[in-house]
């Protein structure tokens, strides 16, 4: 029997989805994650997975995620990444990872200028990582989105490299899995909803799988991610 996944959720001033992330992790790991304050210097010993939750860290001052990306705990998060440790950034967490340079690109204002808070279909583009091995390739899942700055933007060389290396994790799509048009909620290049780093131990995504783990709230399509993470 393998030891359970040890997860840590980083709490920044203005995070507001840390409870949702913790609930999803607890359901999958059968143990609550550590909650780590942004001003701490170290992660708990033996941390396998760091989660940067959604919210509005530092009130989105300057740029979304910009201040959090320079918080003290981020040195420990960087060291964790360099060791090959898993990092999951959800929504504001994705913005923080991009601002920290741990993921490429940047999340710009939605092209439609509106804050979007609704359900959204995603197509799973790569199922070879711990984050997505709980899904089938091409599977369409329905999860929540809640963001004003989710328009994934990257230079053309960077975009080509993401595509070439299979680092697109999820794309926005319609219920049938078709891409483009109204199925893209925010103008993201190539319908990108989530990306991996070069070594596939870091995933950032705008949607909220952690909110879809209980039939009570309308679906359990988010469970695959947390089940995948906890599978040895």
């Amino acid at each position: 029997m393998n030891s359970p996944l040890r997860a840590a959720v980083i709490l920044f001033p203005g995070s507001n989805r840390e409870g949702d992330a913790a609930r999803a992790l607890e359901q999958a790991c059968r143990a609550p994650p550590a909650i780590v304050w942004h001003d701490d210097r170290a992660l708990p010993e033996g941390t396998d997975l760091v989660v940067l939750p959604g919210g509005f860290s530092y009130g989105d001052y300057l740029r979304c995620g910009a201040i959090a990306a320079r918080a003290r705990i981020m040195d420990a998060v960087r060291a964790h990444a360099a060791r090959g440790g898993l990092i999951l950034g959800i929504c504001n967490g994705f913005q923080i990872l991009c601002e920290a340079g741990l993921l490429p690109g940047v999340l710009m204002r939605n092209t439609g200028r509106r804050f979007l808070c609704r359900m959204q279909h995603l197509r799973v583009e790569n199922v070879t990582t711990p984050f997505t091995r709980g899904y089938a390739l091409g599977q369409v899942i329905k999860v929540a989105i809640a963001h004003g700055e989710g328009n994934y933007t990257i230079d053309s060389a960077g975009l080509a490299e993401l595509e070439r290396s299979g680092r697109v994790a999820f794309r926005y799509c319609d219920a049938a899995g078709a891409l483009g048009g109204a199925a893209n909620p925010n103008g993201s290049m190539n319908d990108i909803a989530g990306v991996y780093n070069e070594t596939f131990n870091i995933l950032g995504l705008m949607p909220h799988p952690e909110n879809l783990i209980d039939p009570l709230v309308g679906g359990i399509d988010g469970r695959g991610m947390f089940r995948g993470l906890t599978a040895a």
Partner: protein, 79 residues
């Protein structure tokens, strides 16, 4: 020493806020506005021996935090 740092979106980067402001100006009847792009201004007081040293520090500030150079340019002005 006082300096002003101006951060703007690179040409070609979509600016929905600028577009919204542009539309609002048109609907207010302000004529002759061809386009608007929104940026940020930082007024900075800085200790430095001379302007060149100040510029070096401010460029560092821009590269490290004030601008996201993937999509933004910066310029430094002195009073």
């Amino acid at each position: 020493m006082k300096a002003r740092v101006i951060v703007t979106l690179k040409p070609g980067v979509l600016d929905p806020q600028g577009k919204a402001i542009e539309g609002a100006l048109k609907s207010l009847g302000v004529s002759g506005i061809a386009s608007v792009r929104q940026g940020k201004v930082f007024d900075v007081e800085i200790d430095a021996e001379n302007r060149e040293a100040a510029n070096r520090k401010l460029a560092e500030a821009c590269e490290k935090l004030l601008a996201n150079t993937i999509v933004e340019d910066y310029a430094i002005d002195h009073e």
